[in-house]
């Protein structure tokens, strides 16, 4: 299989100006040499094949967006090589743009005042999509999500979730080879997240589109990606199957429950009952970090229910930060 994206030892450094205050300061800034260097991406290499969905994971400020910006051609790497579909993105920005679709979560690229379908029609012209391909694509969309109510709604009247959904549909509209999704599920509720994950999955299946998905939500990765790449502070920590990662330290989820009675006392009792899991208590919630390799969350829950009166419960995926912490501690490669 051929690589649609090849990245070899790329590094990106930003020169950040130490800004001055006020009008005089901003004039001085024009000539200032008072810089500090921020290394946002540090010597990263990877190859991605056509049709893959890659989860690009890392905490805030890890360098995910910067990597995406280099792949889309709006940033030039400080050093290293990058090829997207055989060409160098920053040297061929507009040509590269024809091959890719991009969604930057929470920043819509659609025309704010126009109904979605009108945005689609303009995009159809910009990308030179044929009438037939356009029609087929809309039919496909129709079969995957209920777009009818969205089509005639101006983007500015949409909820964040609807807007994200629309932006994703717009990114796939010209059937690009690669779609970059930068934190598409950030700030969305659970049901919208699920809807969007299903949509991305189906579009990838149907069109064999390569998807690079940036997120700090393990749930996204778990639902969509076989391969994950983790970066932190610009450096690559992990690039392998998600199963491989789970194999190393199981798969953790946090079960949170609220019980009647004293919080700390109950937490202590639960900790004694499940010595293999870490238990903590705060803000009226007792958290049990369950290693699903040892027993499932459902087992733990039903066990607890026998002894305690559970008033409320929540389930949380392990956070990226926790995964990264574990990688540092246990050295998974």
């Amino acid at each position: 299989m051929s690589n649609i994206i090849e990245i070899k030892n790329i590094t990106k450094e930003f020169k950040v100006l130490n800004r001055r205050e006020g009008l005089k300061g901003s004039l001085k800034d024009l000539f200032s040499r008072d810089y500090k260097i921020v290394r946002a991406v540090d010597n990263i290499s990877m190859n991605i094949t056509q049709g893959e969905i890659v989860g690009y994971l890392g905490p805030n400020g890890a360098g995910k967006s910067t990597t995406i910006k280099m792949m889309t051609g709006i940033l030039e790497p400080t050093s290293g090589e990058i090829l997207v579909d055989g060409c160098i993105p920053y040297k061929n920005r507009t040509r590269n743009a024809q091959n890719i679709g991009v969604v930057f979560g929470q920043r819509t690229q659609l025309w704010w005042a126009l109904p979605l379908v009108e945005s689609f029609k303009i995009l159809k012209d910009i990308y030179g999509v044929t009438d037939k391909d356009y029609k087929d694509m809309l039919e496909l969309y129709q079969s995957l999500v209920d777009i009818e109510p969205l089509l005639h709604k101006p983007v500015r009247q949409m909820s964040l979730g609807q807007r994200t959904l629309s932006d994703i549909l717009a990114a796939f509209l010209h059937n690009p080879k690669i779609v970059f999704l930068d934190e598409p599920t950030i700030g969305l509720d659970v049901s919208m997240k699920a809807k969007i994950r299903t949509l991305i999955h189906a579009l990838n299946k149907e069109k064999n589109t390569t998807v690079i998905l940036t997120t700090h939500d393990m749930g996204d990765v778990d639902a969509l990606c076989r391969r994950i790449v983790i970066i932190d502070k610009g450096k690559m920590l992990y690039d392998n199957d998600i199963e491989h990662l789970k194999g190393f330290f199981g798969y953790y989820r946090t079960l949170k429950i609220r019980v009647s009675g004293s919080l700390s006392e109950t937490a202590e009792k639960i900790a004694a009952e499940f010595p293999e899991f870490s238990v903590s208590a705060n803000d009226e919630w007792i958290s049990v970090l369950v290693d699903e390799a040892k027993s499932t969350v459902m087992d733990v829950l039903s066990q607890l229910q026998k002894t305690y009166k559970i008033r409320d419960m929540q389930l949380e995926e392990i956070s990226t930060e926790e995964v990264i912490k574990k990688i540092y501690e246990e050295g998974v490669k």
């Binding site: 020169k15 009008l23 901003s26 800034d29 040509r95 743009a97 005042a113 009108e118 303009i122 990308y127």
Partner: protein, 267 residues
């Protein structure tokens, strides 16, 4: 990929424009209010002009109708910048918030794509008002009429508009280099109010500035001399189409250069 043709851009623009107008019309109250506001702005501008002339029937050898001609000329010349390049006013906020990035993902010219987002319909009223003023003063001055004059008029109006567009592009692109750059655009915008006066009424320093530094004298004064005083047209008037083209091109390059630079290092 081959370069996109002018026809391609024209089609895209027309499509965006048609949709934009449709959506603006659907907010009827908004539309009516801004139309009324536009009429008031123009009438107020005219009244202050008229009052000035009640006190000074002639300024430096320029009579009322000649001044009116300049006024109308400048209103028309300032229309395209108002209609088609108004998004320059939003550039700073887009850059500051980071939203500017969204314009960089399309396979079309970045400058075009950015400017095409906003069409300011208010410019049309200004255009009609300017046209009326121009025709009226033209008539009162008894300048006569010929096809050649009309052609000259169109060429010189276009170059005059290009100068203002160029000024605004250059001013707007300041935001790529500095924070709090609003004053630059604001300053240039205020300067354009002086475009409607003959540059000869200013002191020699300002005459120099308005010709060579912030060339607002090319928005009405120099180009309209070609029609207004055909016997004494200075070289600068004949040069104004070239000045306009060069200046516009440079401002476009500056804007694009700033945009690329901003992506590389910006906020």
């Amino acid at each position: 990929m081959k370069r996109k043709s002018l026809g391609f851009y024209f089609r895209i623009y027309r499509k965006i424009l048609a949709q934009d107008l449709k959506s603006k019309m659907s907010y009827r109250a908004d539309f009516i209010i801004s139309t009324i506001g536009m009429i008031f702005t123009n009438v107020a501008g005219f009244i202050s002009f008229w009052i000035l002339f009640q006190n000074f029937p002639s300024i430096n050898g320029w009579g009322y109708y000649e001044m009116l001609f300049l006024y109308g000329f400048s209103l028309i010349a300032l229309t395209p910048v108002q209609c088609f390049f108004d998004n320059n006013w939003n550039l700073r906020m887009r850059v500051y918030s980071g939203d500017f990035i969204k314009y960089c993902f399309r396979p079309i010219n970045l400058f075009f794509y950015f400017q095409s987002e906003v069409f300011d319909i208010k410019g049309i009223g200004q255009f009609l008002f300017g046209l009326g003023t121009l025709i009226y003063s033209w008539n009162m001055l008894g300048l006569g009429f010929s096809a050649l004059m009309l052609l000259k008029m169109i060429v010189f109006l276009i170059s005059a508009s290009l100068v203002m567009i160029a000024l605004q592009n250059a001013a707007a692109s300041a935001c790529f280099w500095m924070q709090n750059s609003f004053f630059v655009l604001d300053f240039i915008n205020k300067m354009k109010d002086y475009a409607k006066y003959p540059v000869t009424i200013f002191s020699s320093i300002f005459r120099f500035i308005f010709t060579f530094v912030i060339p607002i004298a090319f928005i009405a004064y120099y180009p309209s001399l070609v029609i207004l005083r055909p016997d004494e047209v200075p070289l600068l008037s004949w040069l104004s189409p070239i000045v306009a083209l060069v200046f516009f091109f440079l401002s476009y390059k500056l804007w694009m250069f700033g945009a690329m630079k901003y992506n590389g290092t910006g906020a």
